[in-house]
Symmetry: C4
Subunit: 258 residues, 4 copies
Amino acid sequence: MSKIDNIMKDLVIANRILANEDVVDAYGHVSIRHPDKPNHFFLSRSLAPELVEFEDIVEFGMDGEPVRDEKRPLYLERFIHAGILEARPDVMAVVHAHAEDILPFGIATDTPLRPVIHSGSFIGANVPVWDISENFGDTNVLVSNMAQARDLAKKLGGNNVALMSAHGFASAAKSLIEVVRMSVYLPRNARILQNAKTLGGEIRYLSQGEIDARNRGYSPYSTETWRTWEFWANKCGCGKLLNRPDGGPIYVHEHKHK
Amino acid sequence: MSKIDNIMKDLVIANRILANEDVVDAYGHVSIRHPDKPNHFFLSRSLAPELVEFEDIVEFGMDGEPVRDEKRPLYLERFIHAGILEARPDVMAVVHAHAEDILPFGIATDTPLRPVIHSGSFIGANVPVWDISENFGDTNVLVSNMAQARDLAKKLGGNNVALMSAHGFASAAKSLIEVVRMSVYLPRNARILQNAKTLGGEIRYLSQGEIDARNRGYSPYSTETWRTWEFWANKCGCGKLLNRPDGGPIYVHEHKHK
Amino acid sequence: MSKIDNIMKDLVIANRILANEDVVDAYGHVSIRHPDKPNHFFLSRSLAPELVEFEDIVEFGMDGEPVRDEKRPLYLERFIHAGILEARPDVMAVVHAHAEDILPFGIATDTPLRPVIHSGSFIGANVPVWDISENFGDTNVLVSNMAQARDLAKKLGGNNVALMSAHGFASAAKSLIEVVRMSVYLPRNARILQNAKTLGGEIRYLSQGEIDARNRGYSPYSTETWRTWEFWANKCGCGKLLNRPDGGPIYVHEHKHK
Amino acid sequence: MSKIDNIMKDLVIANRILANEDVVDAYGHVSIRHPDKPNHFFLSRSLAPELVEFEDIVEFGMDGEPVRDEKRPLYLERFIHAGILEARPDVMAVVHAHAEDILPFGIATDTPLRPVIHSGSFIGANVPVWDISENFGDTNVLVSNMAQARDLAKKLGGNNVALMSAHGFASAAKSLIEVVRMSVYLPRNARILQNAKTLGGEIRYLSQGEIDARNRGYSPYSTETWRTWEFWANKCGCGKLLNRPDGGPIYVHEHKHK
């Protein structure tokens, strides 16, 4: 029970961080797989992430439908989460968002989005671009059923991020903290690559060896990763929801010298 | 009476959202047609939209003049609203604003502004550019009479948005919620197209089929559209003014876990 | 006495608006000529504009020195104000600032800064670029004496704005409200021209006829100009300092529907 | 004792300013050399700079390790500070950060970062770019031991700033106030150079003579430098921690006219 409680707290924090760090607005959402029932996942009902509270979280099955009777409106694109969690047993958490600064790379597809800063390494060397029109023709560009979600998951393959042309991105990771962190640094990496391209000349991308070295040291409760999660949670007013299963220190900050 | 009350509430919300989402500053305004008197419309007196309250709203006729005695200063450019509402019986609400990021497209007119993201689809495939100097020569660039307003409305034609060269834009829709949503995503679409152009190579625009598919699913109280309106209204402190004629759920949010 | 009181209030408002609208940071300042003693002007002691209060304002002579004994540190560049007010009897108020987005135009001088949006018209068709090194060689780039200030004023000539290469700008107008408004829209005009240039193709500049037409209708207490001043003053917490000599309406806003 | 107290206060202010001015986020840190023990320096434990309080500050030796028993997690990259302070006896304070707008210049290395605005002069005419992969191959791109830190310090040489490719920058100065000021204006200088390059044509860089002239007049408690420090400290809620050894005036501001 307490384990689920902590997951709920983390999911509220994740929603609020993604809103506060400008990754989502009224649109975009974040899910986490049920720790004991791998075919279930948690996701908010239809609501802007900044407003999400515990009672807004709904439990879904791998068909993208709620496992219990639910009268409240749901995210149309909840299938994205089902599709990726179904295809990728290694993935525990998924973000879908429309962060503005990645969108040019889904539209001007001659320029691949690749990691150029250390904090962007987790997006991986290959960020595929999925275009819904390839297999589904003229749609409303939204992922509104499992067939579309599975097509997206297929394009994502074993990668961590897929751009969705004219729409946004989907990111996947082995923990909630990792997928949030990656989703915050993804648009930053995009902005920096955009500006470096504007300066011109040769671009210094991260090498595969550097990406691998960073992956080896990455875990949700490492000193470096926790520092960001702790900071972002405090920044968006969620310091009191912070919790960590590894028993490490937690700081809820109130500035004393003010 | 209650119907008019709700329209007033919505118009205050619309003013505040447009200010909070950076579409208007001290300049720019939003109008709504009178639901029972199609030749009348509501618009604030001369005031920065962020400051508009119920008592600031004035009822106008299709000549762009107040229908009752009014001593307070009025927007010089109120004629824009009259001109478009007169020419377009299908339009219920109009925005005029100077949102910064659309302005380059009204100046560097070799690059047409076209939808490249799904949330920008509602601007339509064709965004005409109106240049006041074409028919009126050297003016102060403002639309200050009905002749100019009708010329703008003629350039707008059956489209949803017209850029106004060296000045701003006018947008029109069949509901207030739709025109506000479109006006917020218009500059975002412009920024993304600007950045995609900078990256270079071929640009993936929305197809006419995609634009049509999105239009078919668009209505002010759909789950997706309401989510934004509800979020933006809460964000700018207007949650308590929210109302919906379709009887759907309304959430006024106060974060509980703080 | 009351006339001076109102000028002090306006000068505090001007300082706070320029800070709040991101025209100045810790650096940059705004002055107003003494209404009864044309060889005197008012300017804050050395202090970030956002922090300026009544008691910080100092009265200066045309040599750029305080007319009364003054122990507090002063702006090193106060001479800019003396130099321009001395050379231009038509000017009542001066701003000097380093607003970031005008700086590229003082450095990449092949691209002249010209008005491209109606709200930028007041900068005038010609914005000269002054480079201190032309007549003074290697300096600390600051205007720190009357000789340098007079050289700047000479380059400004009869124009409204001069860019200062590698440094900032100086702007001058016949009223405080006008110089503040122009200084806020100057960087916006610069950003839009920068982005239009990036889009490429032919640029639509304001014509001289349009600039003239706009100048004819411009006065500090017109409906349109007052709306911005009133809005900006309320936004930065100075609504209660608002005053107008023409007896027009003043609104100090507190949102009632919250 | 009081001297150390004031250094602690200044270090808290520095952390908060760097966060508030967007130079650091959860990552990045600032150190100051011990005034009496030149082989010691002060730096926070692992914590986002915005959250740093007195009790978070730890005393380190030149091996980058705490001089007293310390159980709390530490910054992985604390070695950067040790390496630079060891190599440069003239340096009293060091900043390491990932400020976004300098990153393109560490990636598109054909364009050197050079000062183009007077407030950017202190970065010096030469800003070397250090690439960890040159001598250490495929790493996680972080400076995690003294060998890497010494290599960085060697590339920095006698300069004030080194860019760290795909990572960030390190800056060094003879006082804490100077290194903070330089670190805030460094990304601004980068943005302006980026935009000037986009405008195209010849760029007007600061000359060596201008850089020298500015250096001659630069000291932490000069009127101009103090104005920024005082302003930034007040802005981030640290006005009450302000102190100055030269006995000059200190203003803690609360707006009175609100």
